[in-house]
Structure formats: C-alpha cells, structure tokens
C-alpha cells in the first residue's frame, strides 16, 4: 500500500540526496557516473540536491558505521514525507565484507526502512539505472531467492519448499 501511495506521490521527478555513510567512494563514483550524459539519469527527472529537506529519495552508500548512525537518523527525519530510501552497493544492502566488524552496523536496513536495494560492488551504472527503473515502475525486478536440492536417484535438482 505504501508503494502505491509512493507511485501516486512521485509522478514526475525524484530529487535525490546522496549520503555516504562509510562507503569506499566506489559507489559514489558510480552514482556520479549515472548522472553523466552517457547514462543520463536526469531524463527520468532525477536530480541531486544539496539539502535533505529538498529531497524525496535518500541514496545510502556504505555499511553504516557506528559513528554515523545518529547523523543518519537525523538525516532521515529531515527528509519530508513521503520518502524513499535506496541502498546502493553491497555494503548498504547487506554490510558487504564488513558485515560483522566492530565499527559497522551492517547494512542500511538495520537503521532505516529501505525500499529499494541495488547490490553490486560497486553496482554498474546500468545496475543503478535498473534500480531507478524498478523504483519508477519502468522495469520489473529480475531476481528471486534460489532454493534447490539434490536427490540421490535423480540427475537434476529439485526446488525446496521454504516455509
């Protein structure tokens, strides 16, 4: 229901505030890459803004470090409703290779309600564009969890029922 509401509330342009919460700058470079004329995310009305109060979308890059958690919470509260959160990169999606480090909380969705996940290390500019297209309803998501099982008497694997 929240997603339907968002589809109604964001008919035209998404203004994006990009925050780096401990990323290595790989994802940030790819985000800038998406805004170049070659990939041109601005044709979907996407624009980077300098203040979270102007933004509709929060781009989160990085495996939220412990030091930045209060700042990230304040940042999220500063974005006016309705708002979306995009987690870009493996770090923001699941913590990356730092998922259990002492100084990292491991993923943006431990702190914020994340709406769209774009994995990759760093994600290709096309992958970010695909995430944007999924967020705008231009494309369908292309990934599902896989559960397969080998059986002793059969050459091919069968799917496992997940509860």
């Amino acid at each position: 229901m929240f997603k339907e509401l968002c589809a109604k509330a964001f008919p035209k342009s998404l203004w994006v505030y990009h925050c780096n919460v401990g990323a290595c700058n790989g994802c940030d470079i790819e985000v800038i890459d998406v805004l170049t004329p070659y990939y041109d995310a601005e044709r979907f009305g996407i624009k980077l803004v300098a203040s979270p109060r102007h933004a509709d979308v929060l781009l989160v890059c990085g495996p939220v470090t412990r030091q930045v958690v209060p700042a990230l919470k304040r940042l999220y509260d500063a974005v006016p409703h309705p708002k979306l959160v995009l987690a870009i990169g493996s770090c923001a999606v699941g913590g990356g290779i730092w998922f259990d480090s002492y100084n990292v909380v491991g993923g943006a969705d431990t702190i914020l309600p994340v709406d769209y996940y774009i994995p990759g290390c760093p994600p290709r500019p096309e992958a970010i564009l695909h995430g944007v297209a999924v967020a705008l309803g231009l494309a369908e998501k292309d990934i599902e969890s896989v559960h397969l099982k080998q059986l002793p008497d059969r050459p091919e694997s069968v799917p496992v029922e997940v509860e």
């Binding site: 290779i97 494309a139 896989v146 694997s157």
Partner: protein, 162 residues
C-alpha cells in the same frame, strides 16, 4: 560572440545522441565482467572450498542431517570477486553476466540455498565428500549393514569363546 555560440551549437549537434537507451533496451556488459555467481546444484559436491575462500564469508555450510549438506549463500553482501568460481573443483559456480539485481522486496531475494546429497562417514556420522563419483553412485543414502562381530556365526565359535 553570437557567431561563436552558433558554432558551438552546431558542433554539439554533430555527435548526435550519445545517451544509452538502457532501461528500455538491453545493454549487455562487455569484457570479463563478473556478475551474479550462479551455482549449479547438480554439479556441486559440497566440498566447501568456496566457503573457505569467500572474503565476505557469505557461504555457510550446514549438515542438516546425515546425508544432506546445506550450502546457504547470502549474496546480498557478495563483492563479486569470483574466488569461489576459481576454487570450485567441479566448476559448479560460474560468474554470469547478470547485473540487474536490484529488488524492492528485501535482501532475502539475494539468498541462494543448495542442498547437496552427501555420503556419511560411518565412524563419526558426519557428511563427507565421497572419494569418487563412482562411490557416490554405488552407495546412495545411509549404509545399514548388518552388525556382525567377529566369531558370532562362525564355525570356529568354540575356539574364540574359550
């Protein structure tokens, strides 16, 4: 002044459209791009080499019963380094060119589970990799040999019972 601006406009018209049509037309990655690491469950022997080398430690191995080994991969934190594909002795893991991994329904979408049928060590009860593919065919499931101690039914019983 105006002439130079006009010249600039004409120059910028020359290259035409440079923008990729990407979300509306497919665009395959070129070169040796490493995307989603796909695991072929039929080929996997459950040796656990991938779990040993994964830098993100996202491949977990659980022996859920005596001849099933679960290989759970939380690909949400995969860094697509390709080490698991390098180390796999059966080439069960391949780095595909898939990059459209974005999802709107949570990080569970990047999960991958593969249950491998294993042989069981008769001494310790744990799963192990069978010595060869032939053994895997010959001994499916748990062996249940009849218990025969030395001398129980033997014709030389009277000697050993002394």
């Amino acid at each position: 002044m105006i002439a130079s601006k006009l010249k600039e406009a004409i120059l910028s018209l020359r290259p035409g459209r440079v923008t990729l049509k990407y979300p509306f037309a497919p665009h395959d990655p070129e070169g040796d791009f490493r995307g989603y690491p796909e695991i072929d469950t039929d080929k996997c022997i459950g040796c656990g080499g991938c779990a040993a080398v994964c830098p993100a430690r996202l491949i977990m191995i659980q022996d859920i019963d005596q001849n099933t080994r679960r290989i759970v991969r939380l690909l949400e934190r995969c860094i697509f380094c390709g080490r698991c594909a390098d180390v796999c002795p059966e080439d069960a893991i391949t780095m595909t060119k898939r990059f459209e991994l974005s999802t709107d329904s949570g990080r569970e979408d990047m999960e991958s589970e593969c249950q491998v049928f294993m042989a069981t060590c008769q001494r310790c009860g744990r799963c192990y990799e069978p010595p060869s593919a032939l053994d895997k065919i010959m001994k499916p499931g748990l062996r249940n040999d009849e218990v025969k101690r030395g001398g129980q039914d033997s014709p030389y019983k009277h000697i050993s019972s002394e």
